[in-house]
């Protein structure tokens, strides 16, 4: 069987994806293309082996030794997720759509998808992304469900669940000169001097309502791709939008869309910020890894000011608000 072997360098972490399915290889380039390299960097690689399901055997229920830990109804589009622990391994079952088996000790994910090319181009990419994010967690690189932006080496992390206004906030800041780290899942890690916010380049996914707020997007609308739930476009197609570089997080923002004409912000205590942050970053699988990540996130909210953004209808005024917050921190 002809296969694809794709090497990636994710901020120094070697990751290797193997598949026999072209649709999965395309999905990997879609999800991780910003990290594609010719050769793997030095070090023990993280591995993803993802195949198209070949017959019903591949999607059989887990072994009787597996313990059901959690069930989540809406993940990766609209399929249910059942999460099992099987020894030191973790099994993600997406109904009949596919499964992933994560071995955090070996740094490996194996899995299969029932129909990798359906129903939308980002479908299989979601499986690749989940695999990569869980593997990166084992190396102390934590994806945060949020938009990350950077300007002059200072990072702004806009954290929230789907529909909280992350992408709208991201685009509003981009057009004001901020640079994008990710509109959905930048990485966070620690170094000797504190935290680093790392870019995770990818397509920007928008709703029609978001497009209506930013006229510059209409020019690239013919290039929009229809994904599972939204439409997406490559960021560099829009003039003045650009990718940023790794930076220190300076500000945490937790948006909540409100039906008010004007946006406003209110300072959040560290504990409230942590309560908001944890559901957007921490999936407790291995207790040791989860404990380490919990302490990292706790330190982040101790050292980084956090604000609740009541995100009103004046979405393009956000840069003014964020600029003012950043200036006040300098003072």
């Amino acid at each position: 069987m002809a296969g694809f072997e794709l090497p990636f360098d994710i901020h120094g972490e070697p990751l290797f994806l193997k598949t026999g399915a072209k649709a999965i290889a395309d999905a990997a380039r879609d999800a991780l293309g910003g990290f594609a390299v010719e050769r793997l960097p030095a070090g023990a690689p993280l591995e993803i082996d993802l195949q198209a399901a070949d017959g019903s055997e591949d999607l059989q229920p887990p072994r009787s030794t597996a313990v059901l830990v959690r069930e989540v109804p809406q993940v990766a589009g609209s399929v249910p997720l059942s999460l099992y622990r099987d020894g030191c391994r973790w099994r993600f079952d997406f109904g009949g759509a596919g499964r992933l088996l994560l071995d955090p000790v070996l740094g490996r994910v194996t899995g299969c998808l029932a129909a990798p090319g359906c129903p939308a181009p980002d479908w299989a990419a979601g499986f690749v992304l989940l695999s990569a994010i869980e593997l990166l967690r084992t190396r102390g690189r934590y994806a945060v469900h949020g938009a990350g932006l950077e300007r002059e080496g200072r990072g702004v992390l806009v954290v929230g669940a789907s529909g909280a206004g992350k992408t709208t906030a991201c685009l509003s800041l981009l057009r004001a000169g901020y640079r994008c780290l990710s509109d959905d899942h930048p990485l966070l890690c620690t170094d000797g001097d504190g935290f680093q916010l790392l870019p995770f380049p990818g397509r920007i996914a928008v709703t029609q309502r978001t497009v209506s707020w930013f006229p510059e997007l209409r020019a690239v609308e013919p290039e929009f791709r229809s994904d599972t739930r939204k439409r997406s476009f490559p960021l560099d197609r829009v003039a003045d939008y650009s990718w940023g570089e790794r930076c220190r997080p300076a500000l945490l923002i937790f948006p909540r869309i409100v039906d008010w004409p004007e946006s406003s912000v209110a300072r959040l205590s560290g504990a409230r910020a942590l309560e908001e942050l944890l559901p957007q970053t921490l999936l407790v699988l291995d207790p040791q890894l989860a404990g380490a990540q919990f302490q990292v996130m706790s330190e982040l909210v101790r050292t980084t000011p956090a604000y609740r953004l009541h995100f009103g209808e004046d979405v393009t005024r956000l840069p003014e608000i964020v600029d003012r917050l950043l200036e006040s921190l300098e003072v």
Partner: protein, 165 residues
Amino acid sequence: MNPKNFDKNPAEAASEAGGSFIGAELRVDAADEEDSPVITSQTSGQEIRRRAGEALGPLLRSMLGSAPLAPQDVCRRSSEVSFAEVDGEAVLLDLRSGHYYTLNQQGTVIWQLLTGSCDLGAVADLLCERYEVDRETAWQDLVALVHNLCCEKLATLEAPDRGRL
């Protein structure tokens, strides 16, 4: 326990908390409960047991709340709970379930004292000293918090003459 009641001093907080010095409930993330799928014929027996346990939690809690605790009893934090203190409040993460909880400032002080090295009577004495609250109030609220912690399996209780409760 709603920490918002305790952003003020203990006396102000007590009036808002219905006369309690320490609130009686842990603040718990509710994301999983909100997302719980409907039980169907496909739902596994294990999941049904888990959901039944969740539903019965408040009932068990009220039953335990009436069990007497003695000052010589010792409460110990679970080693399977990671915690971080942020702005004087403790956020607890249960590494088995992924649930997290927030304690207000008084709850945080108690949590830090539950190392197993002193009994509940000594913890109540320390609270009286620190917060100038009468012993009866401190004891009742301490007992309520300890019961909640034990019901959530965040801590265990050891009674010298009754073993592990």
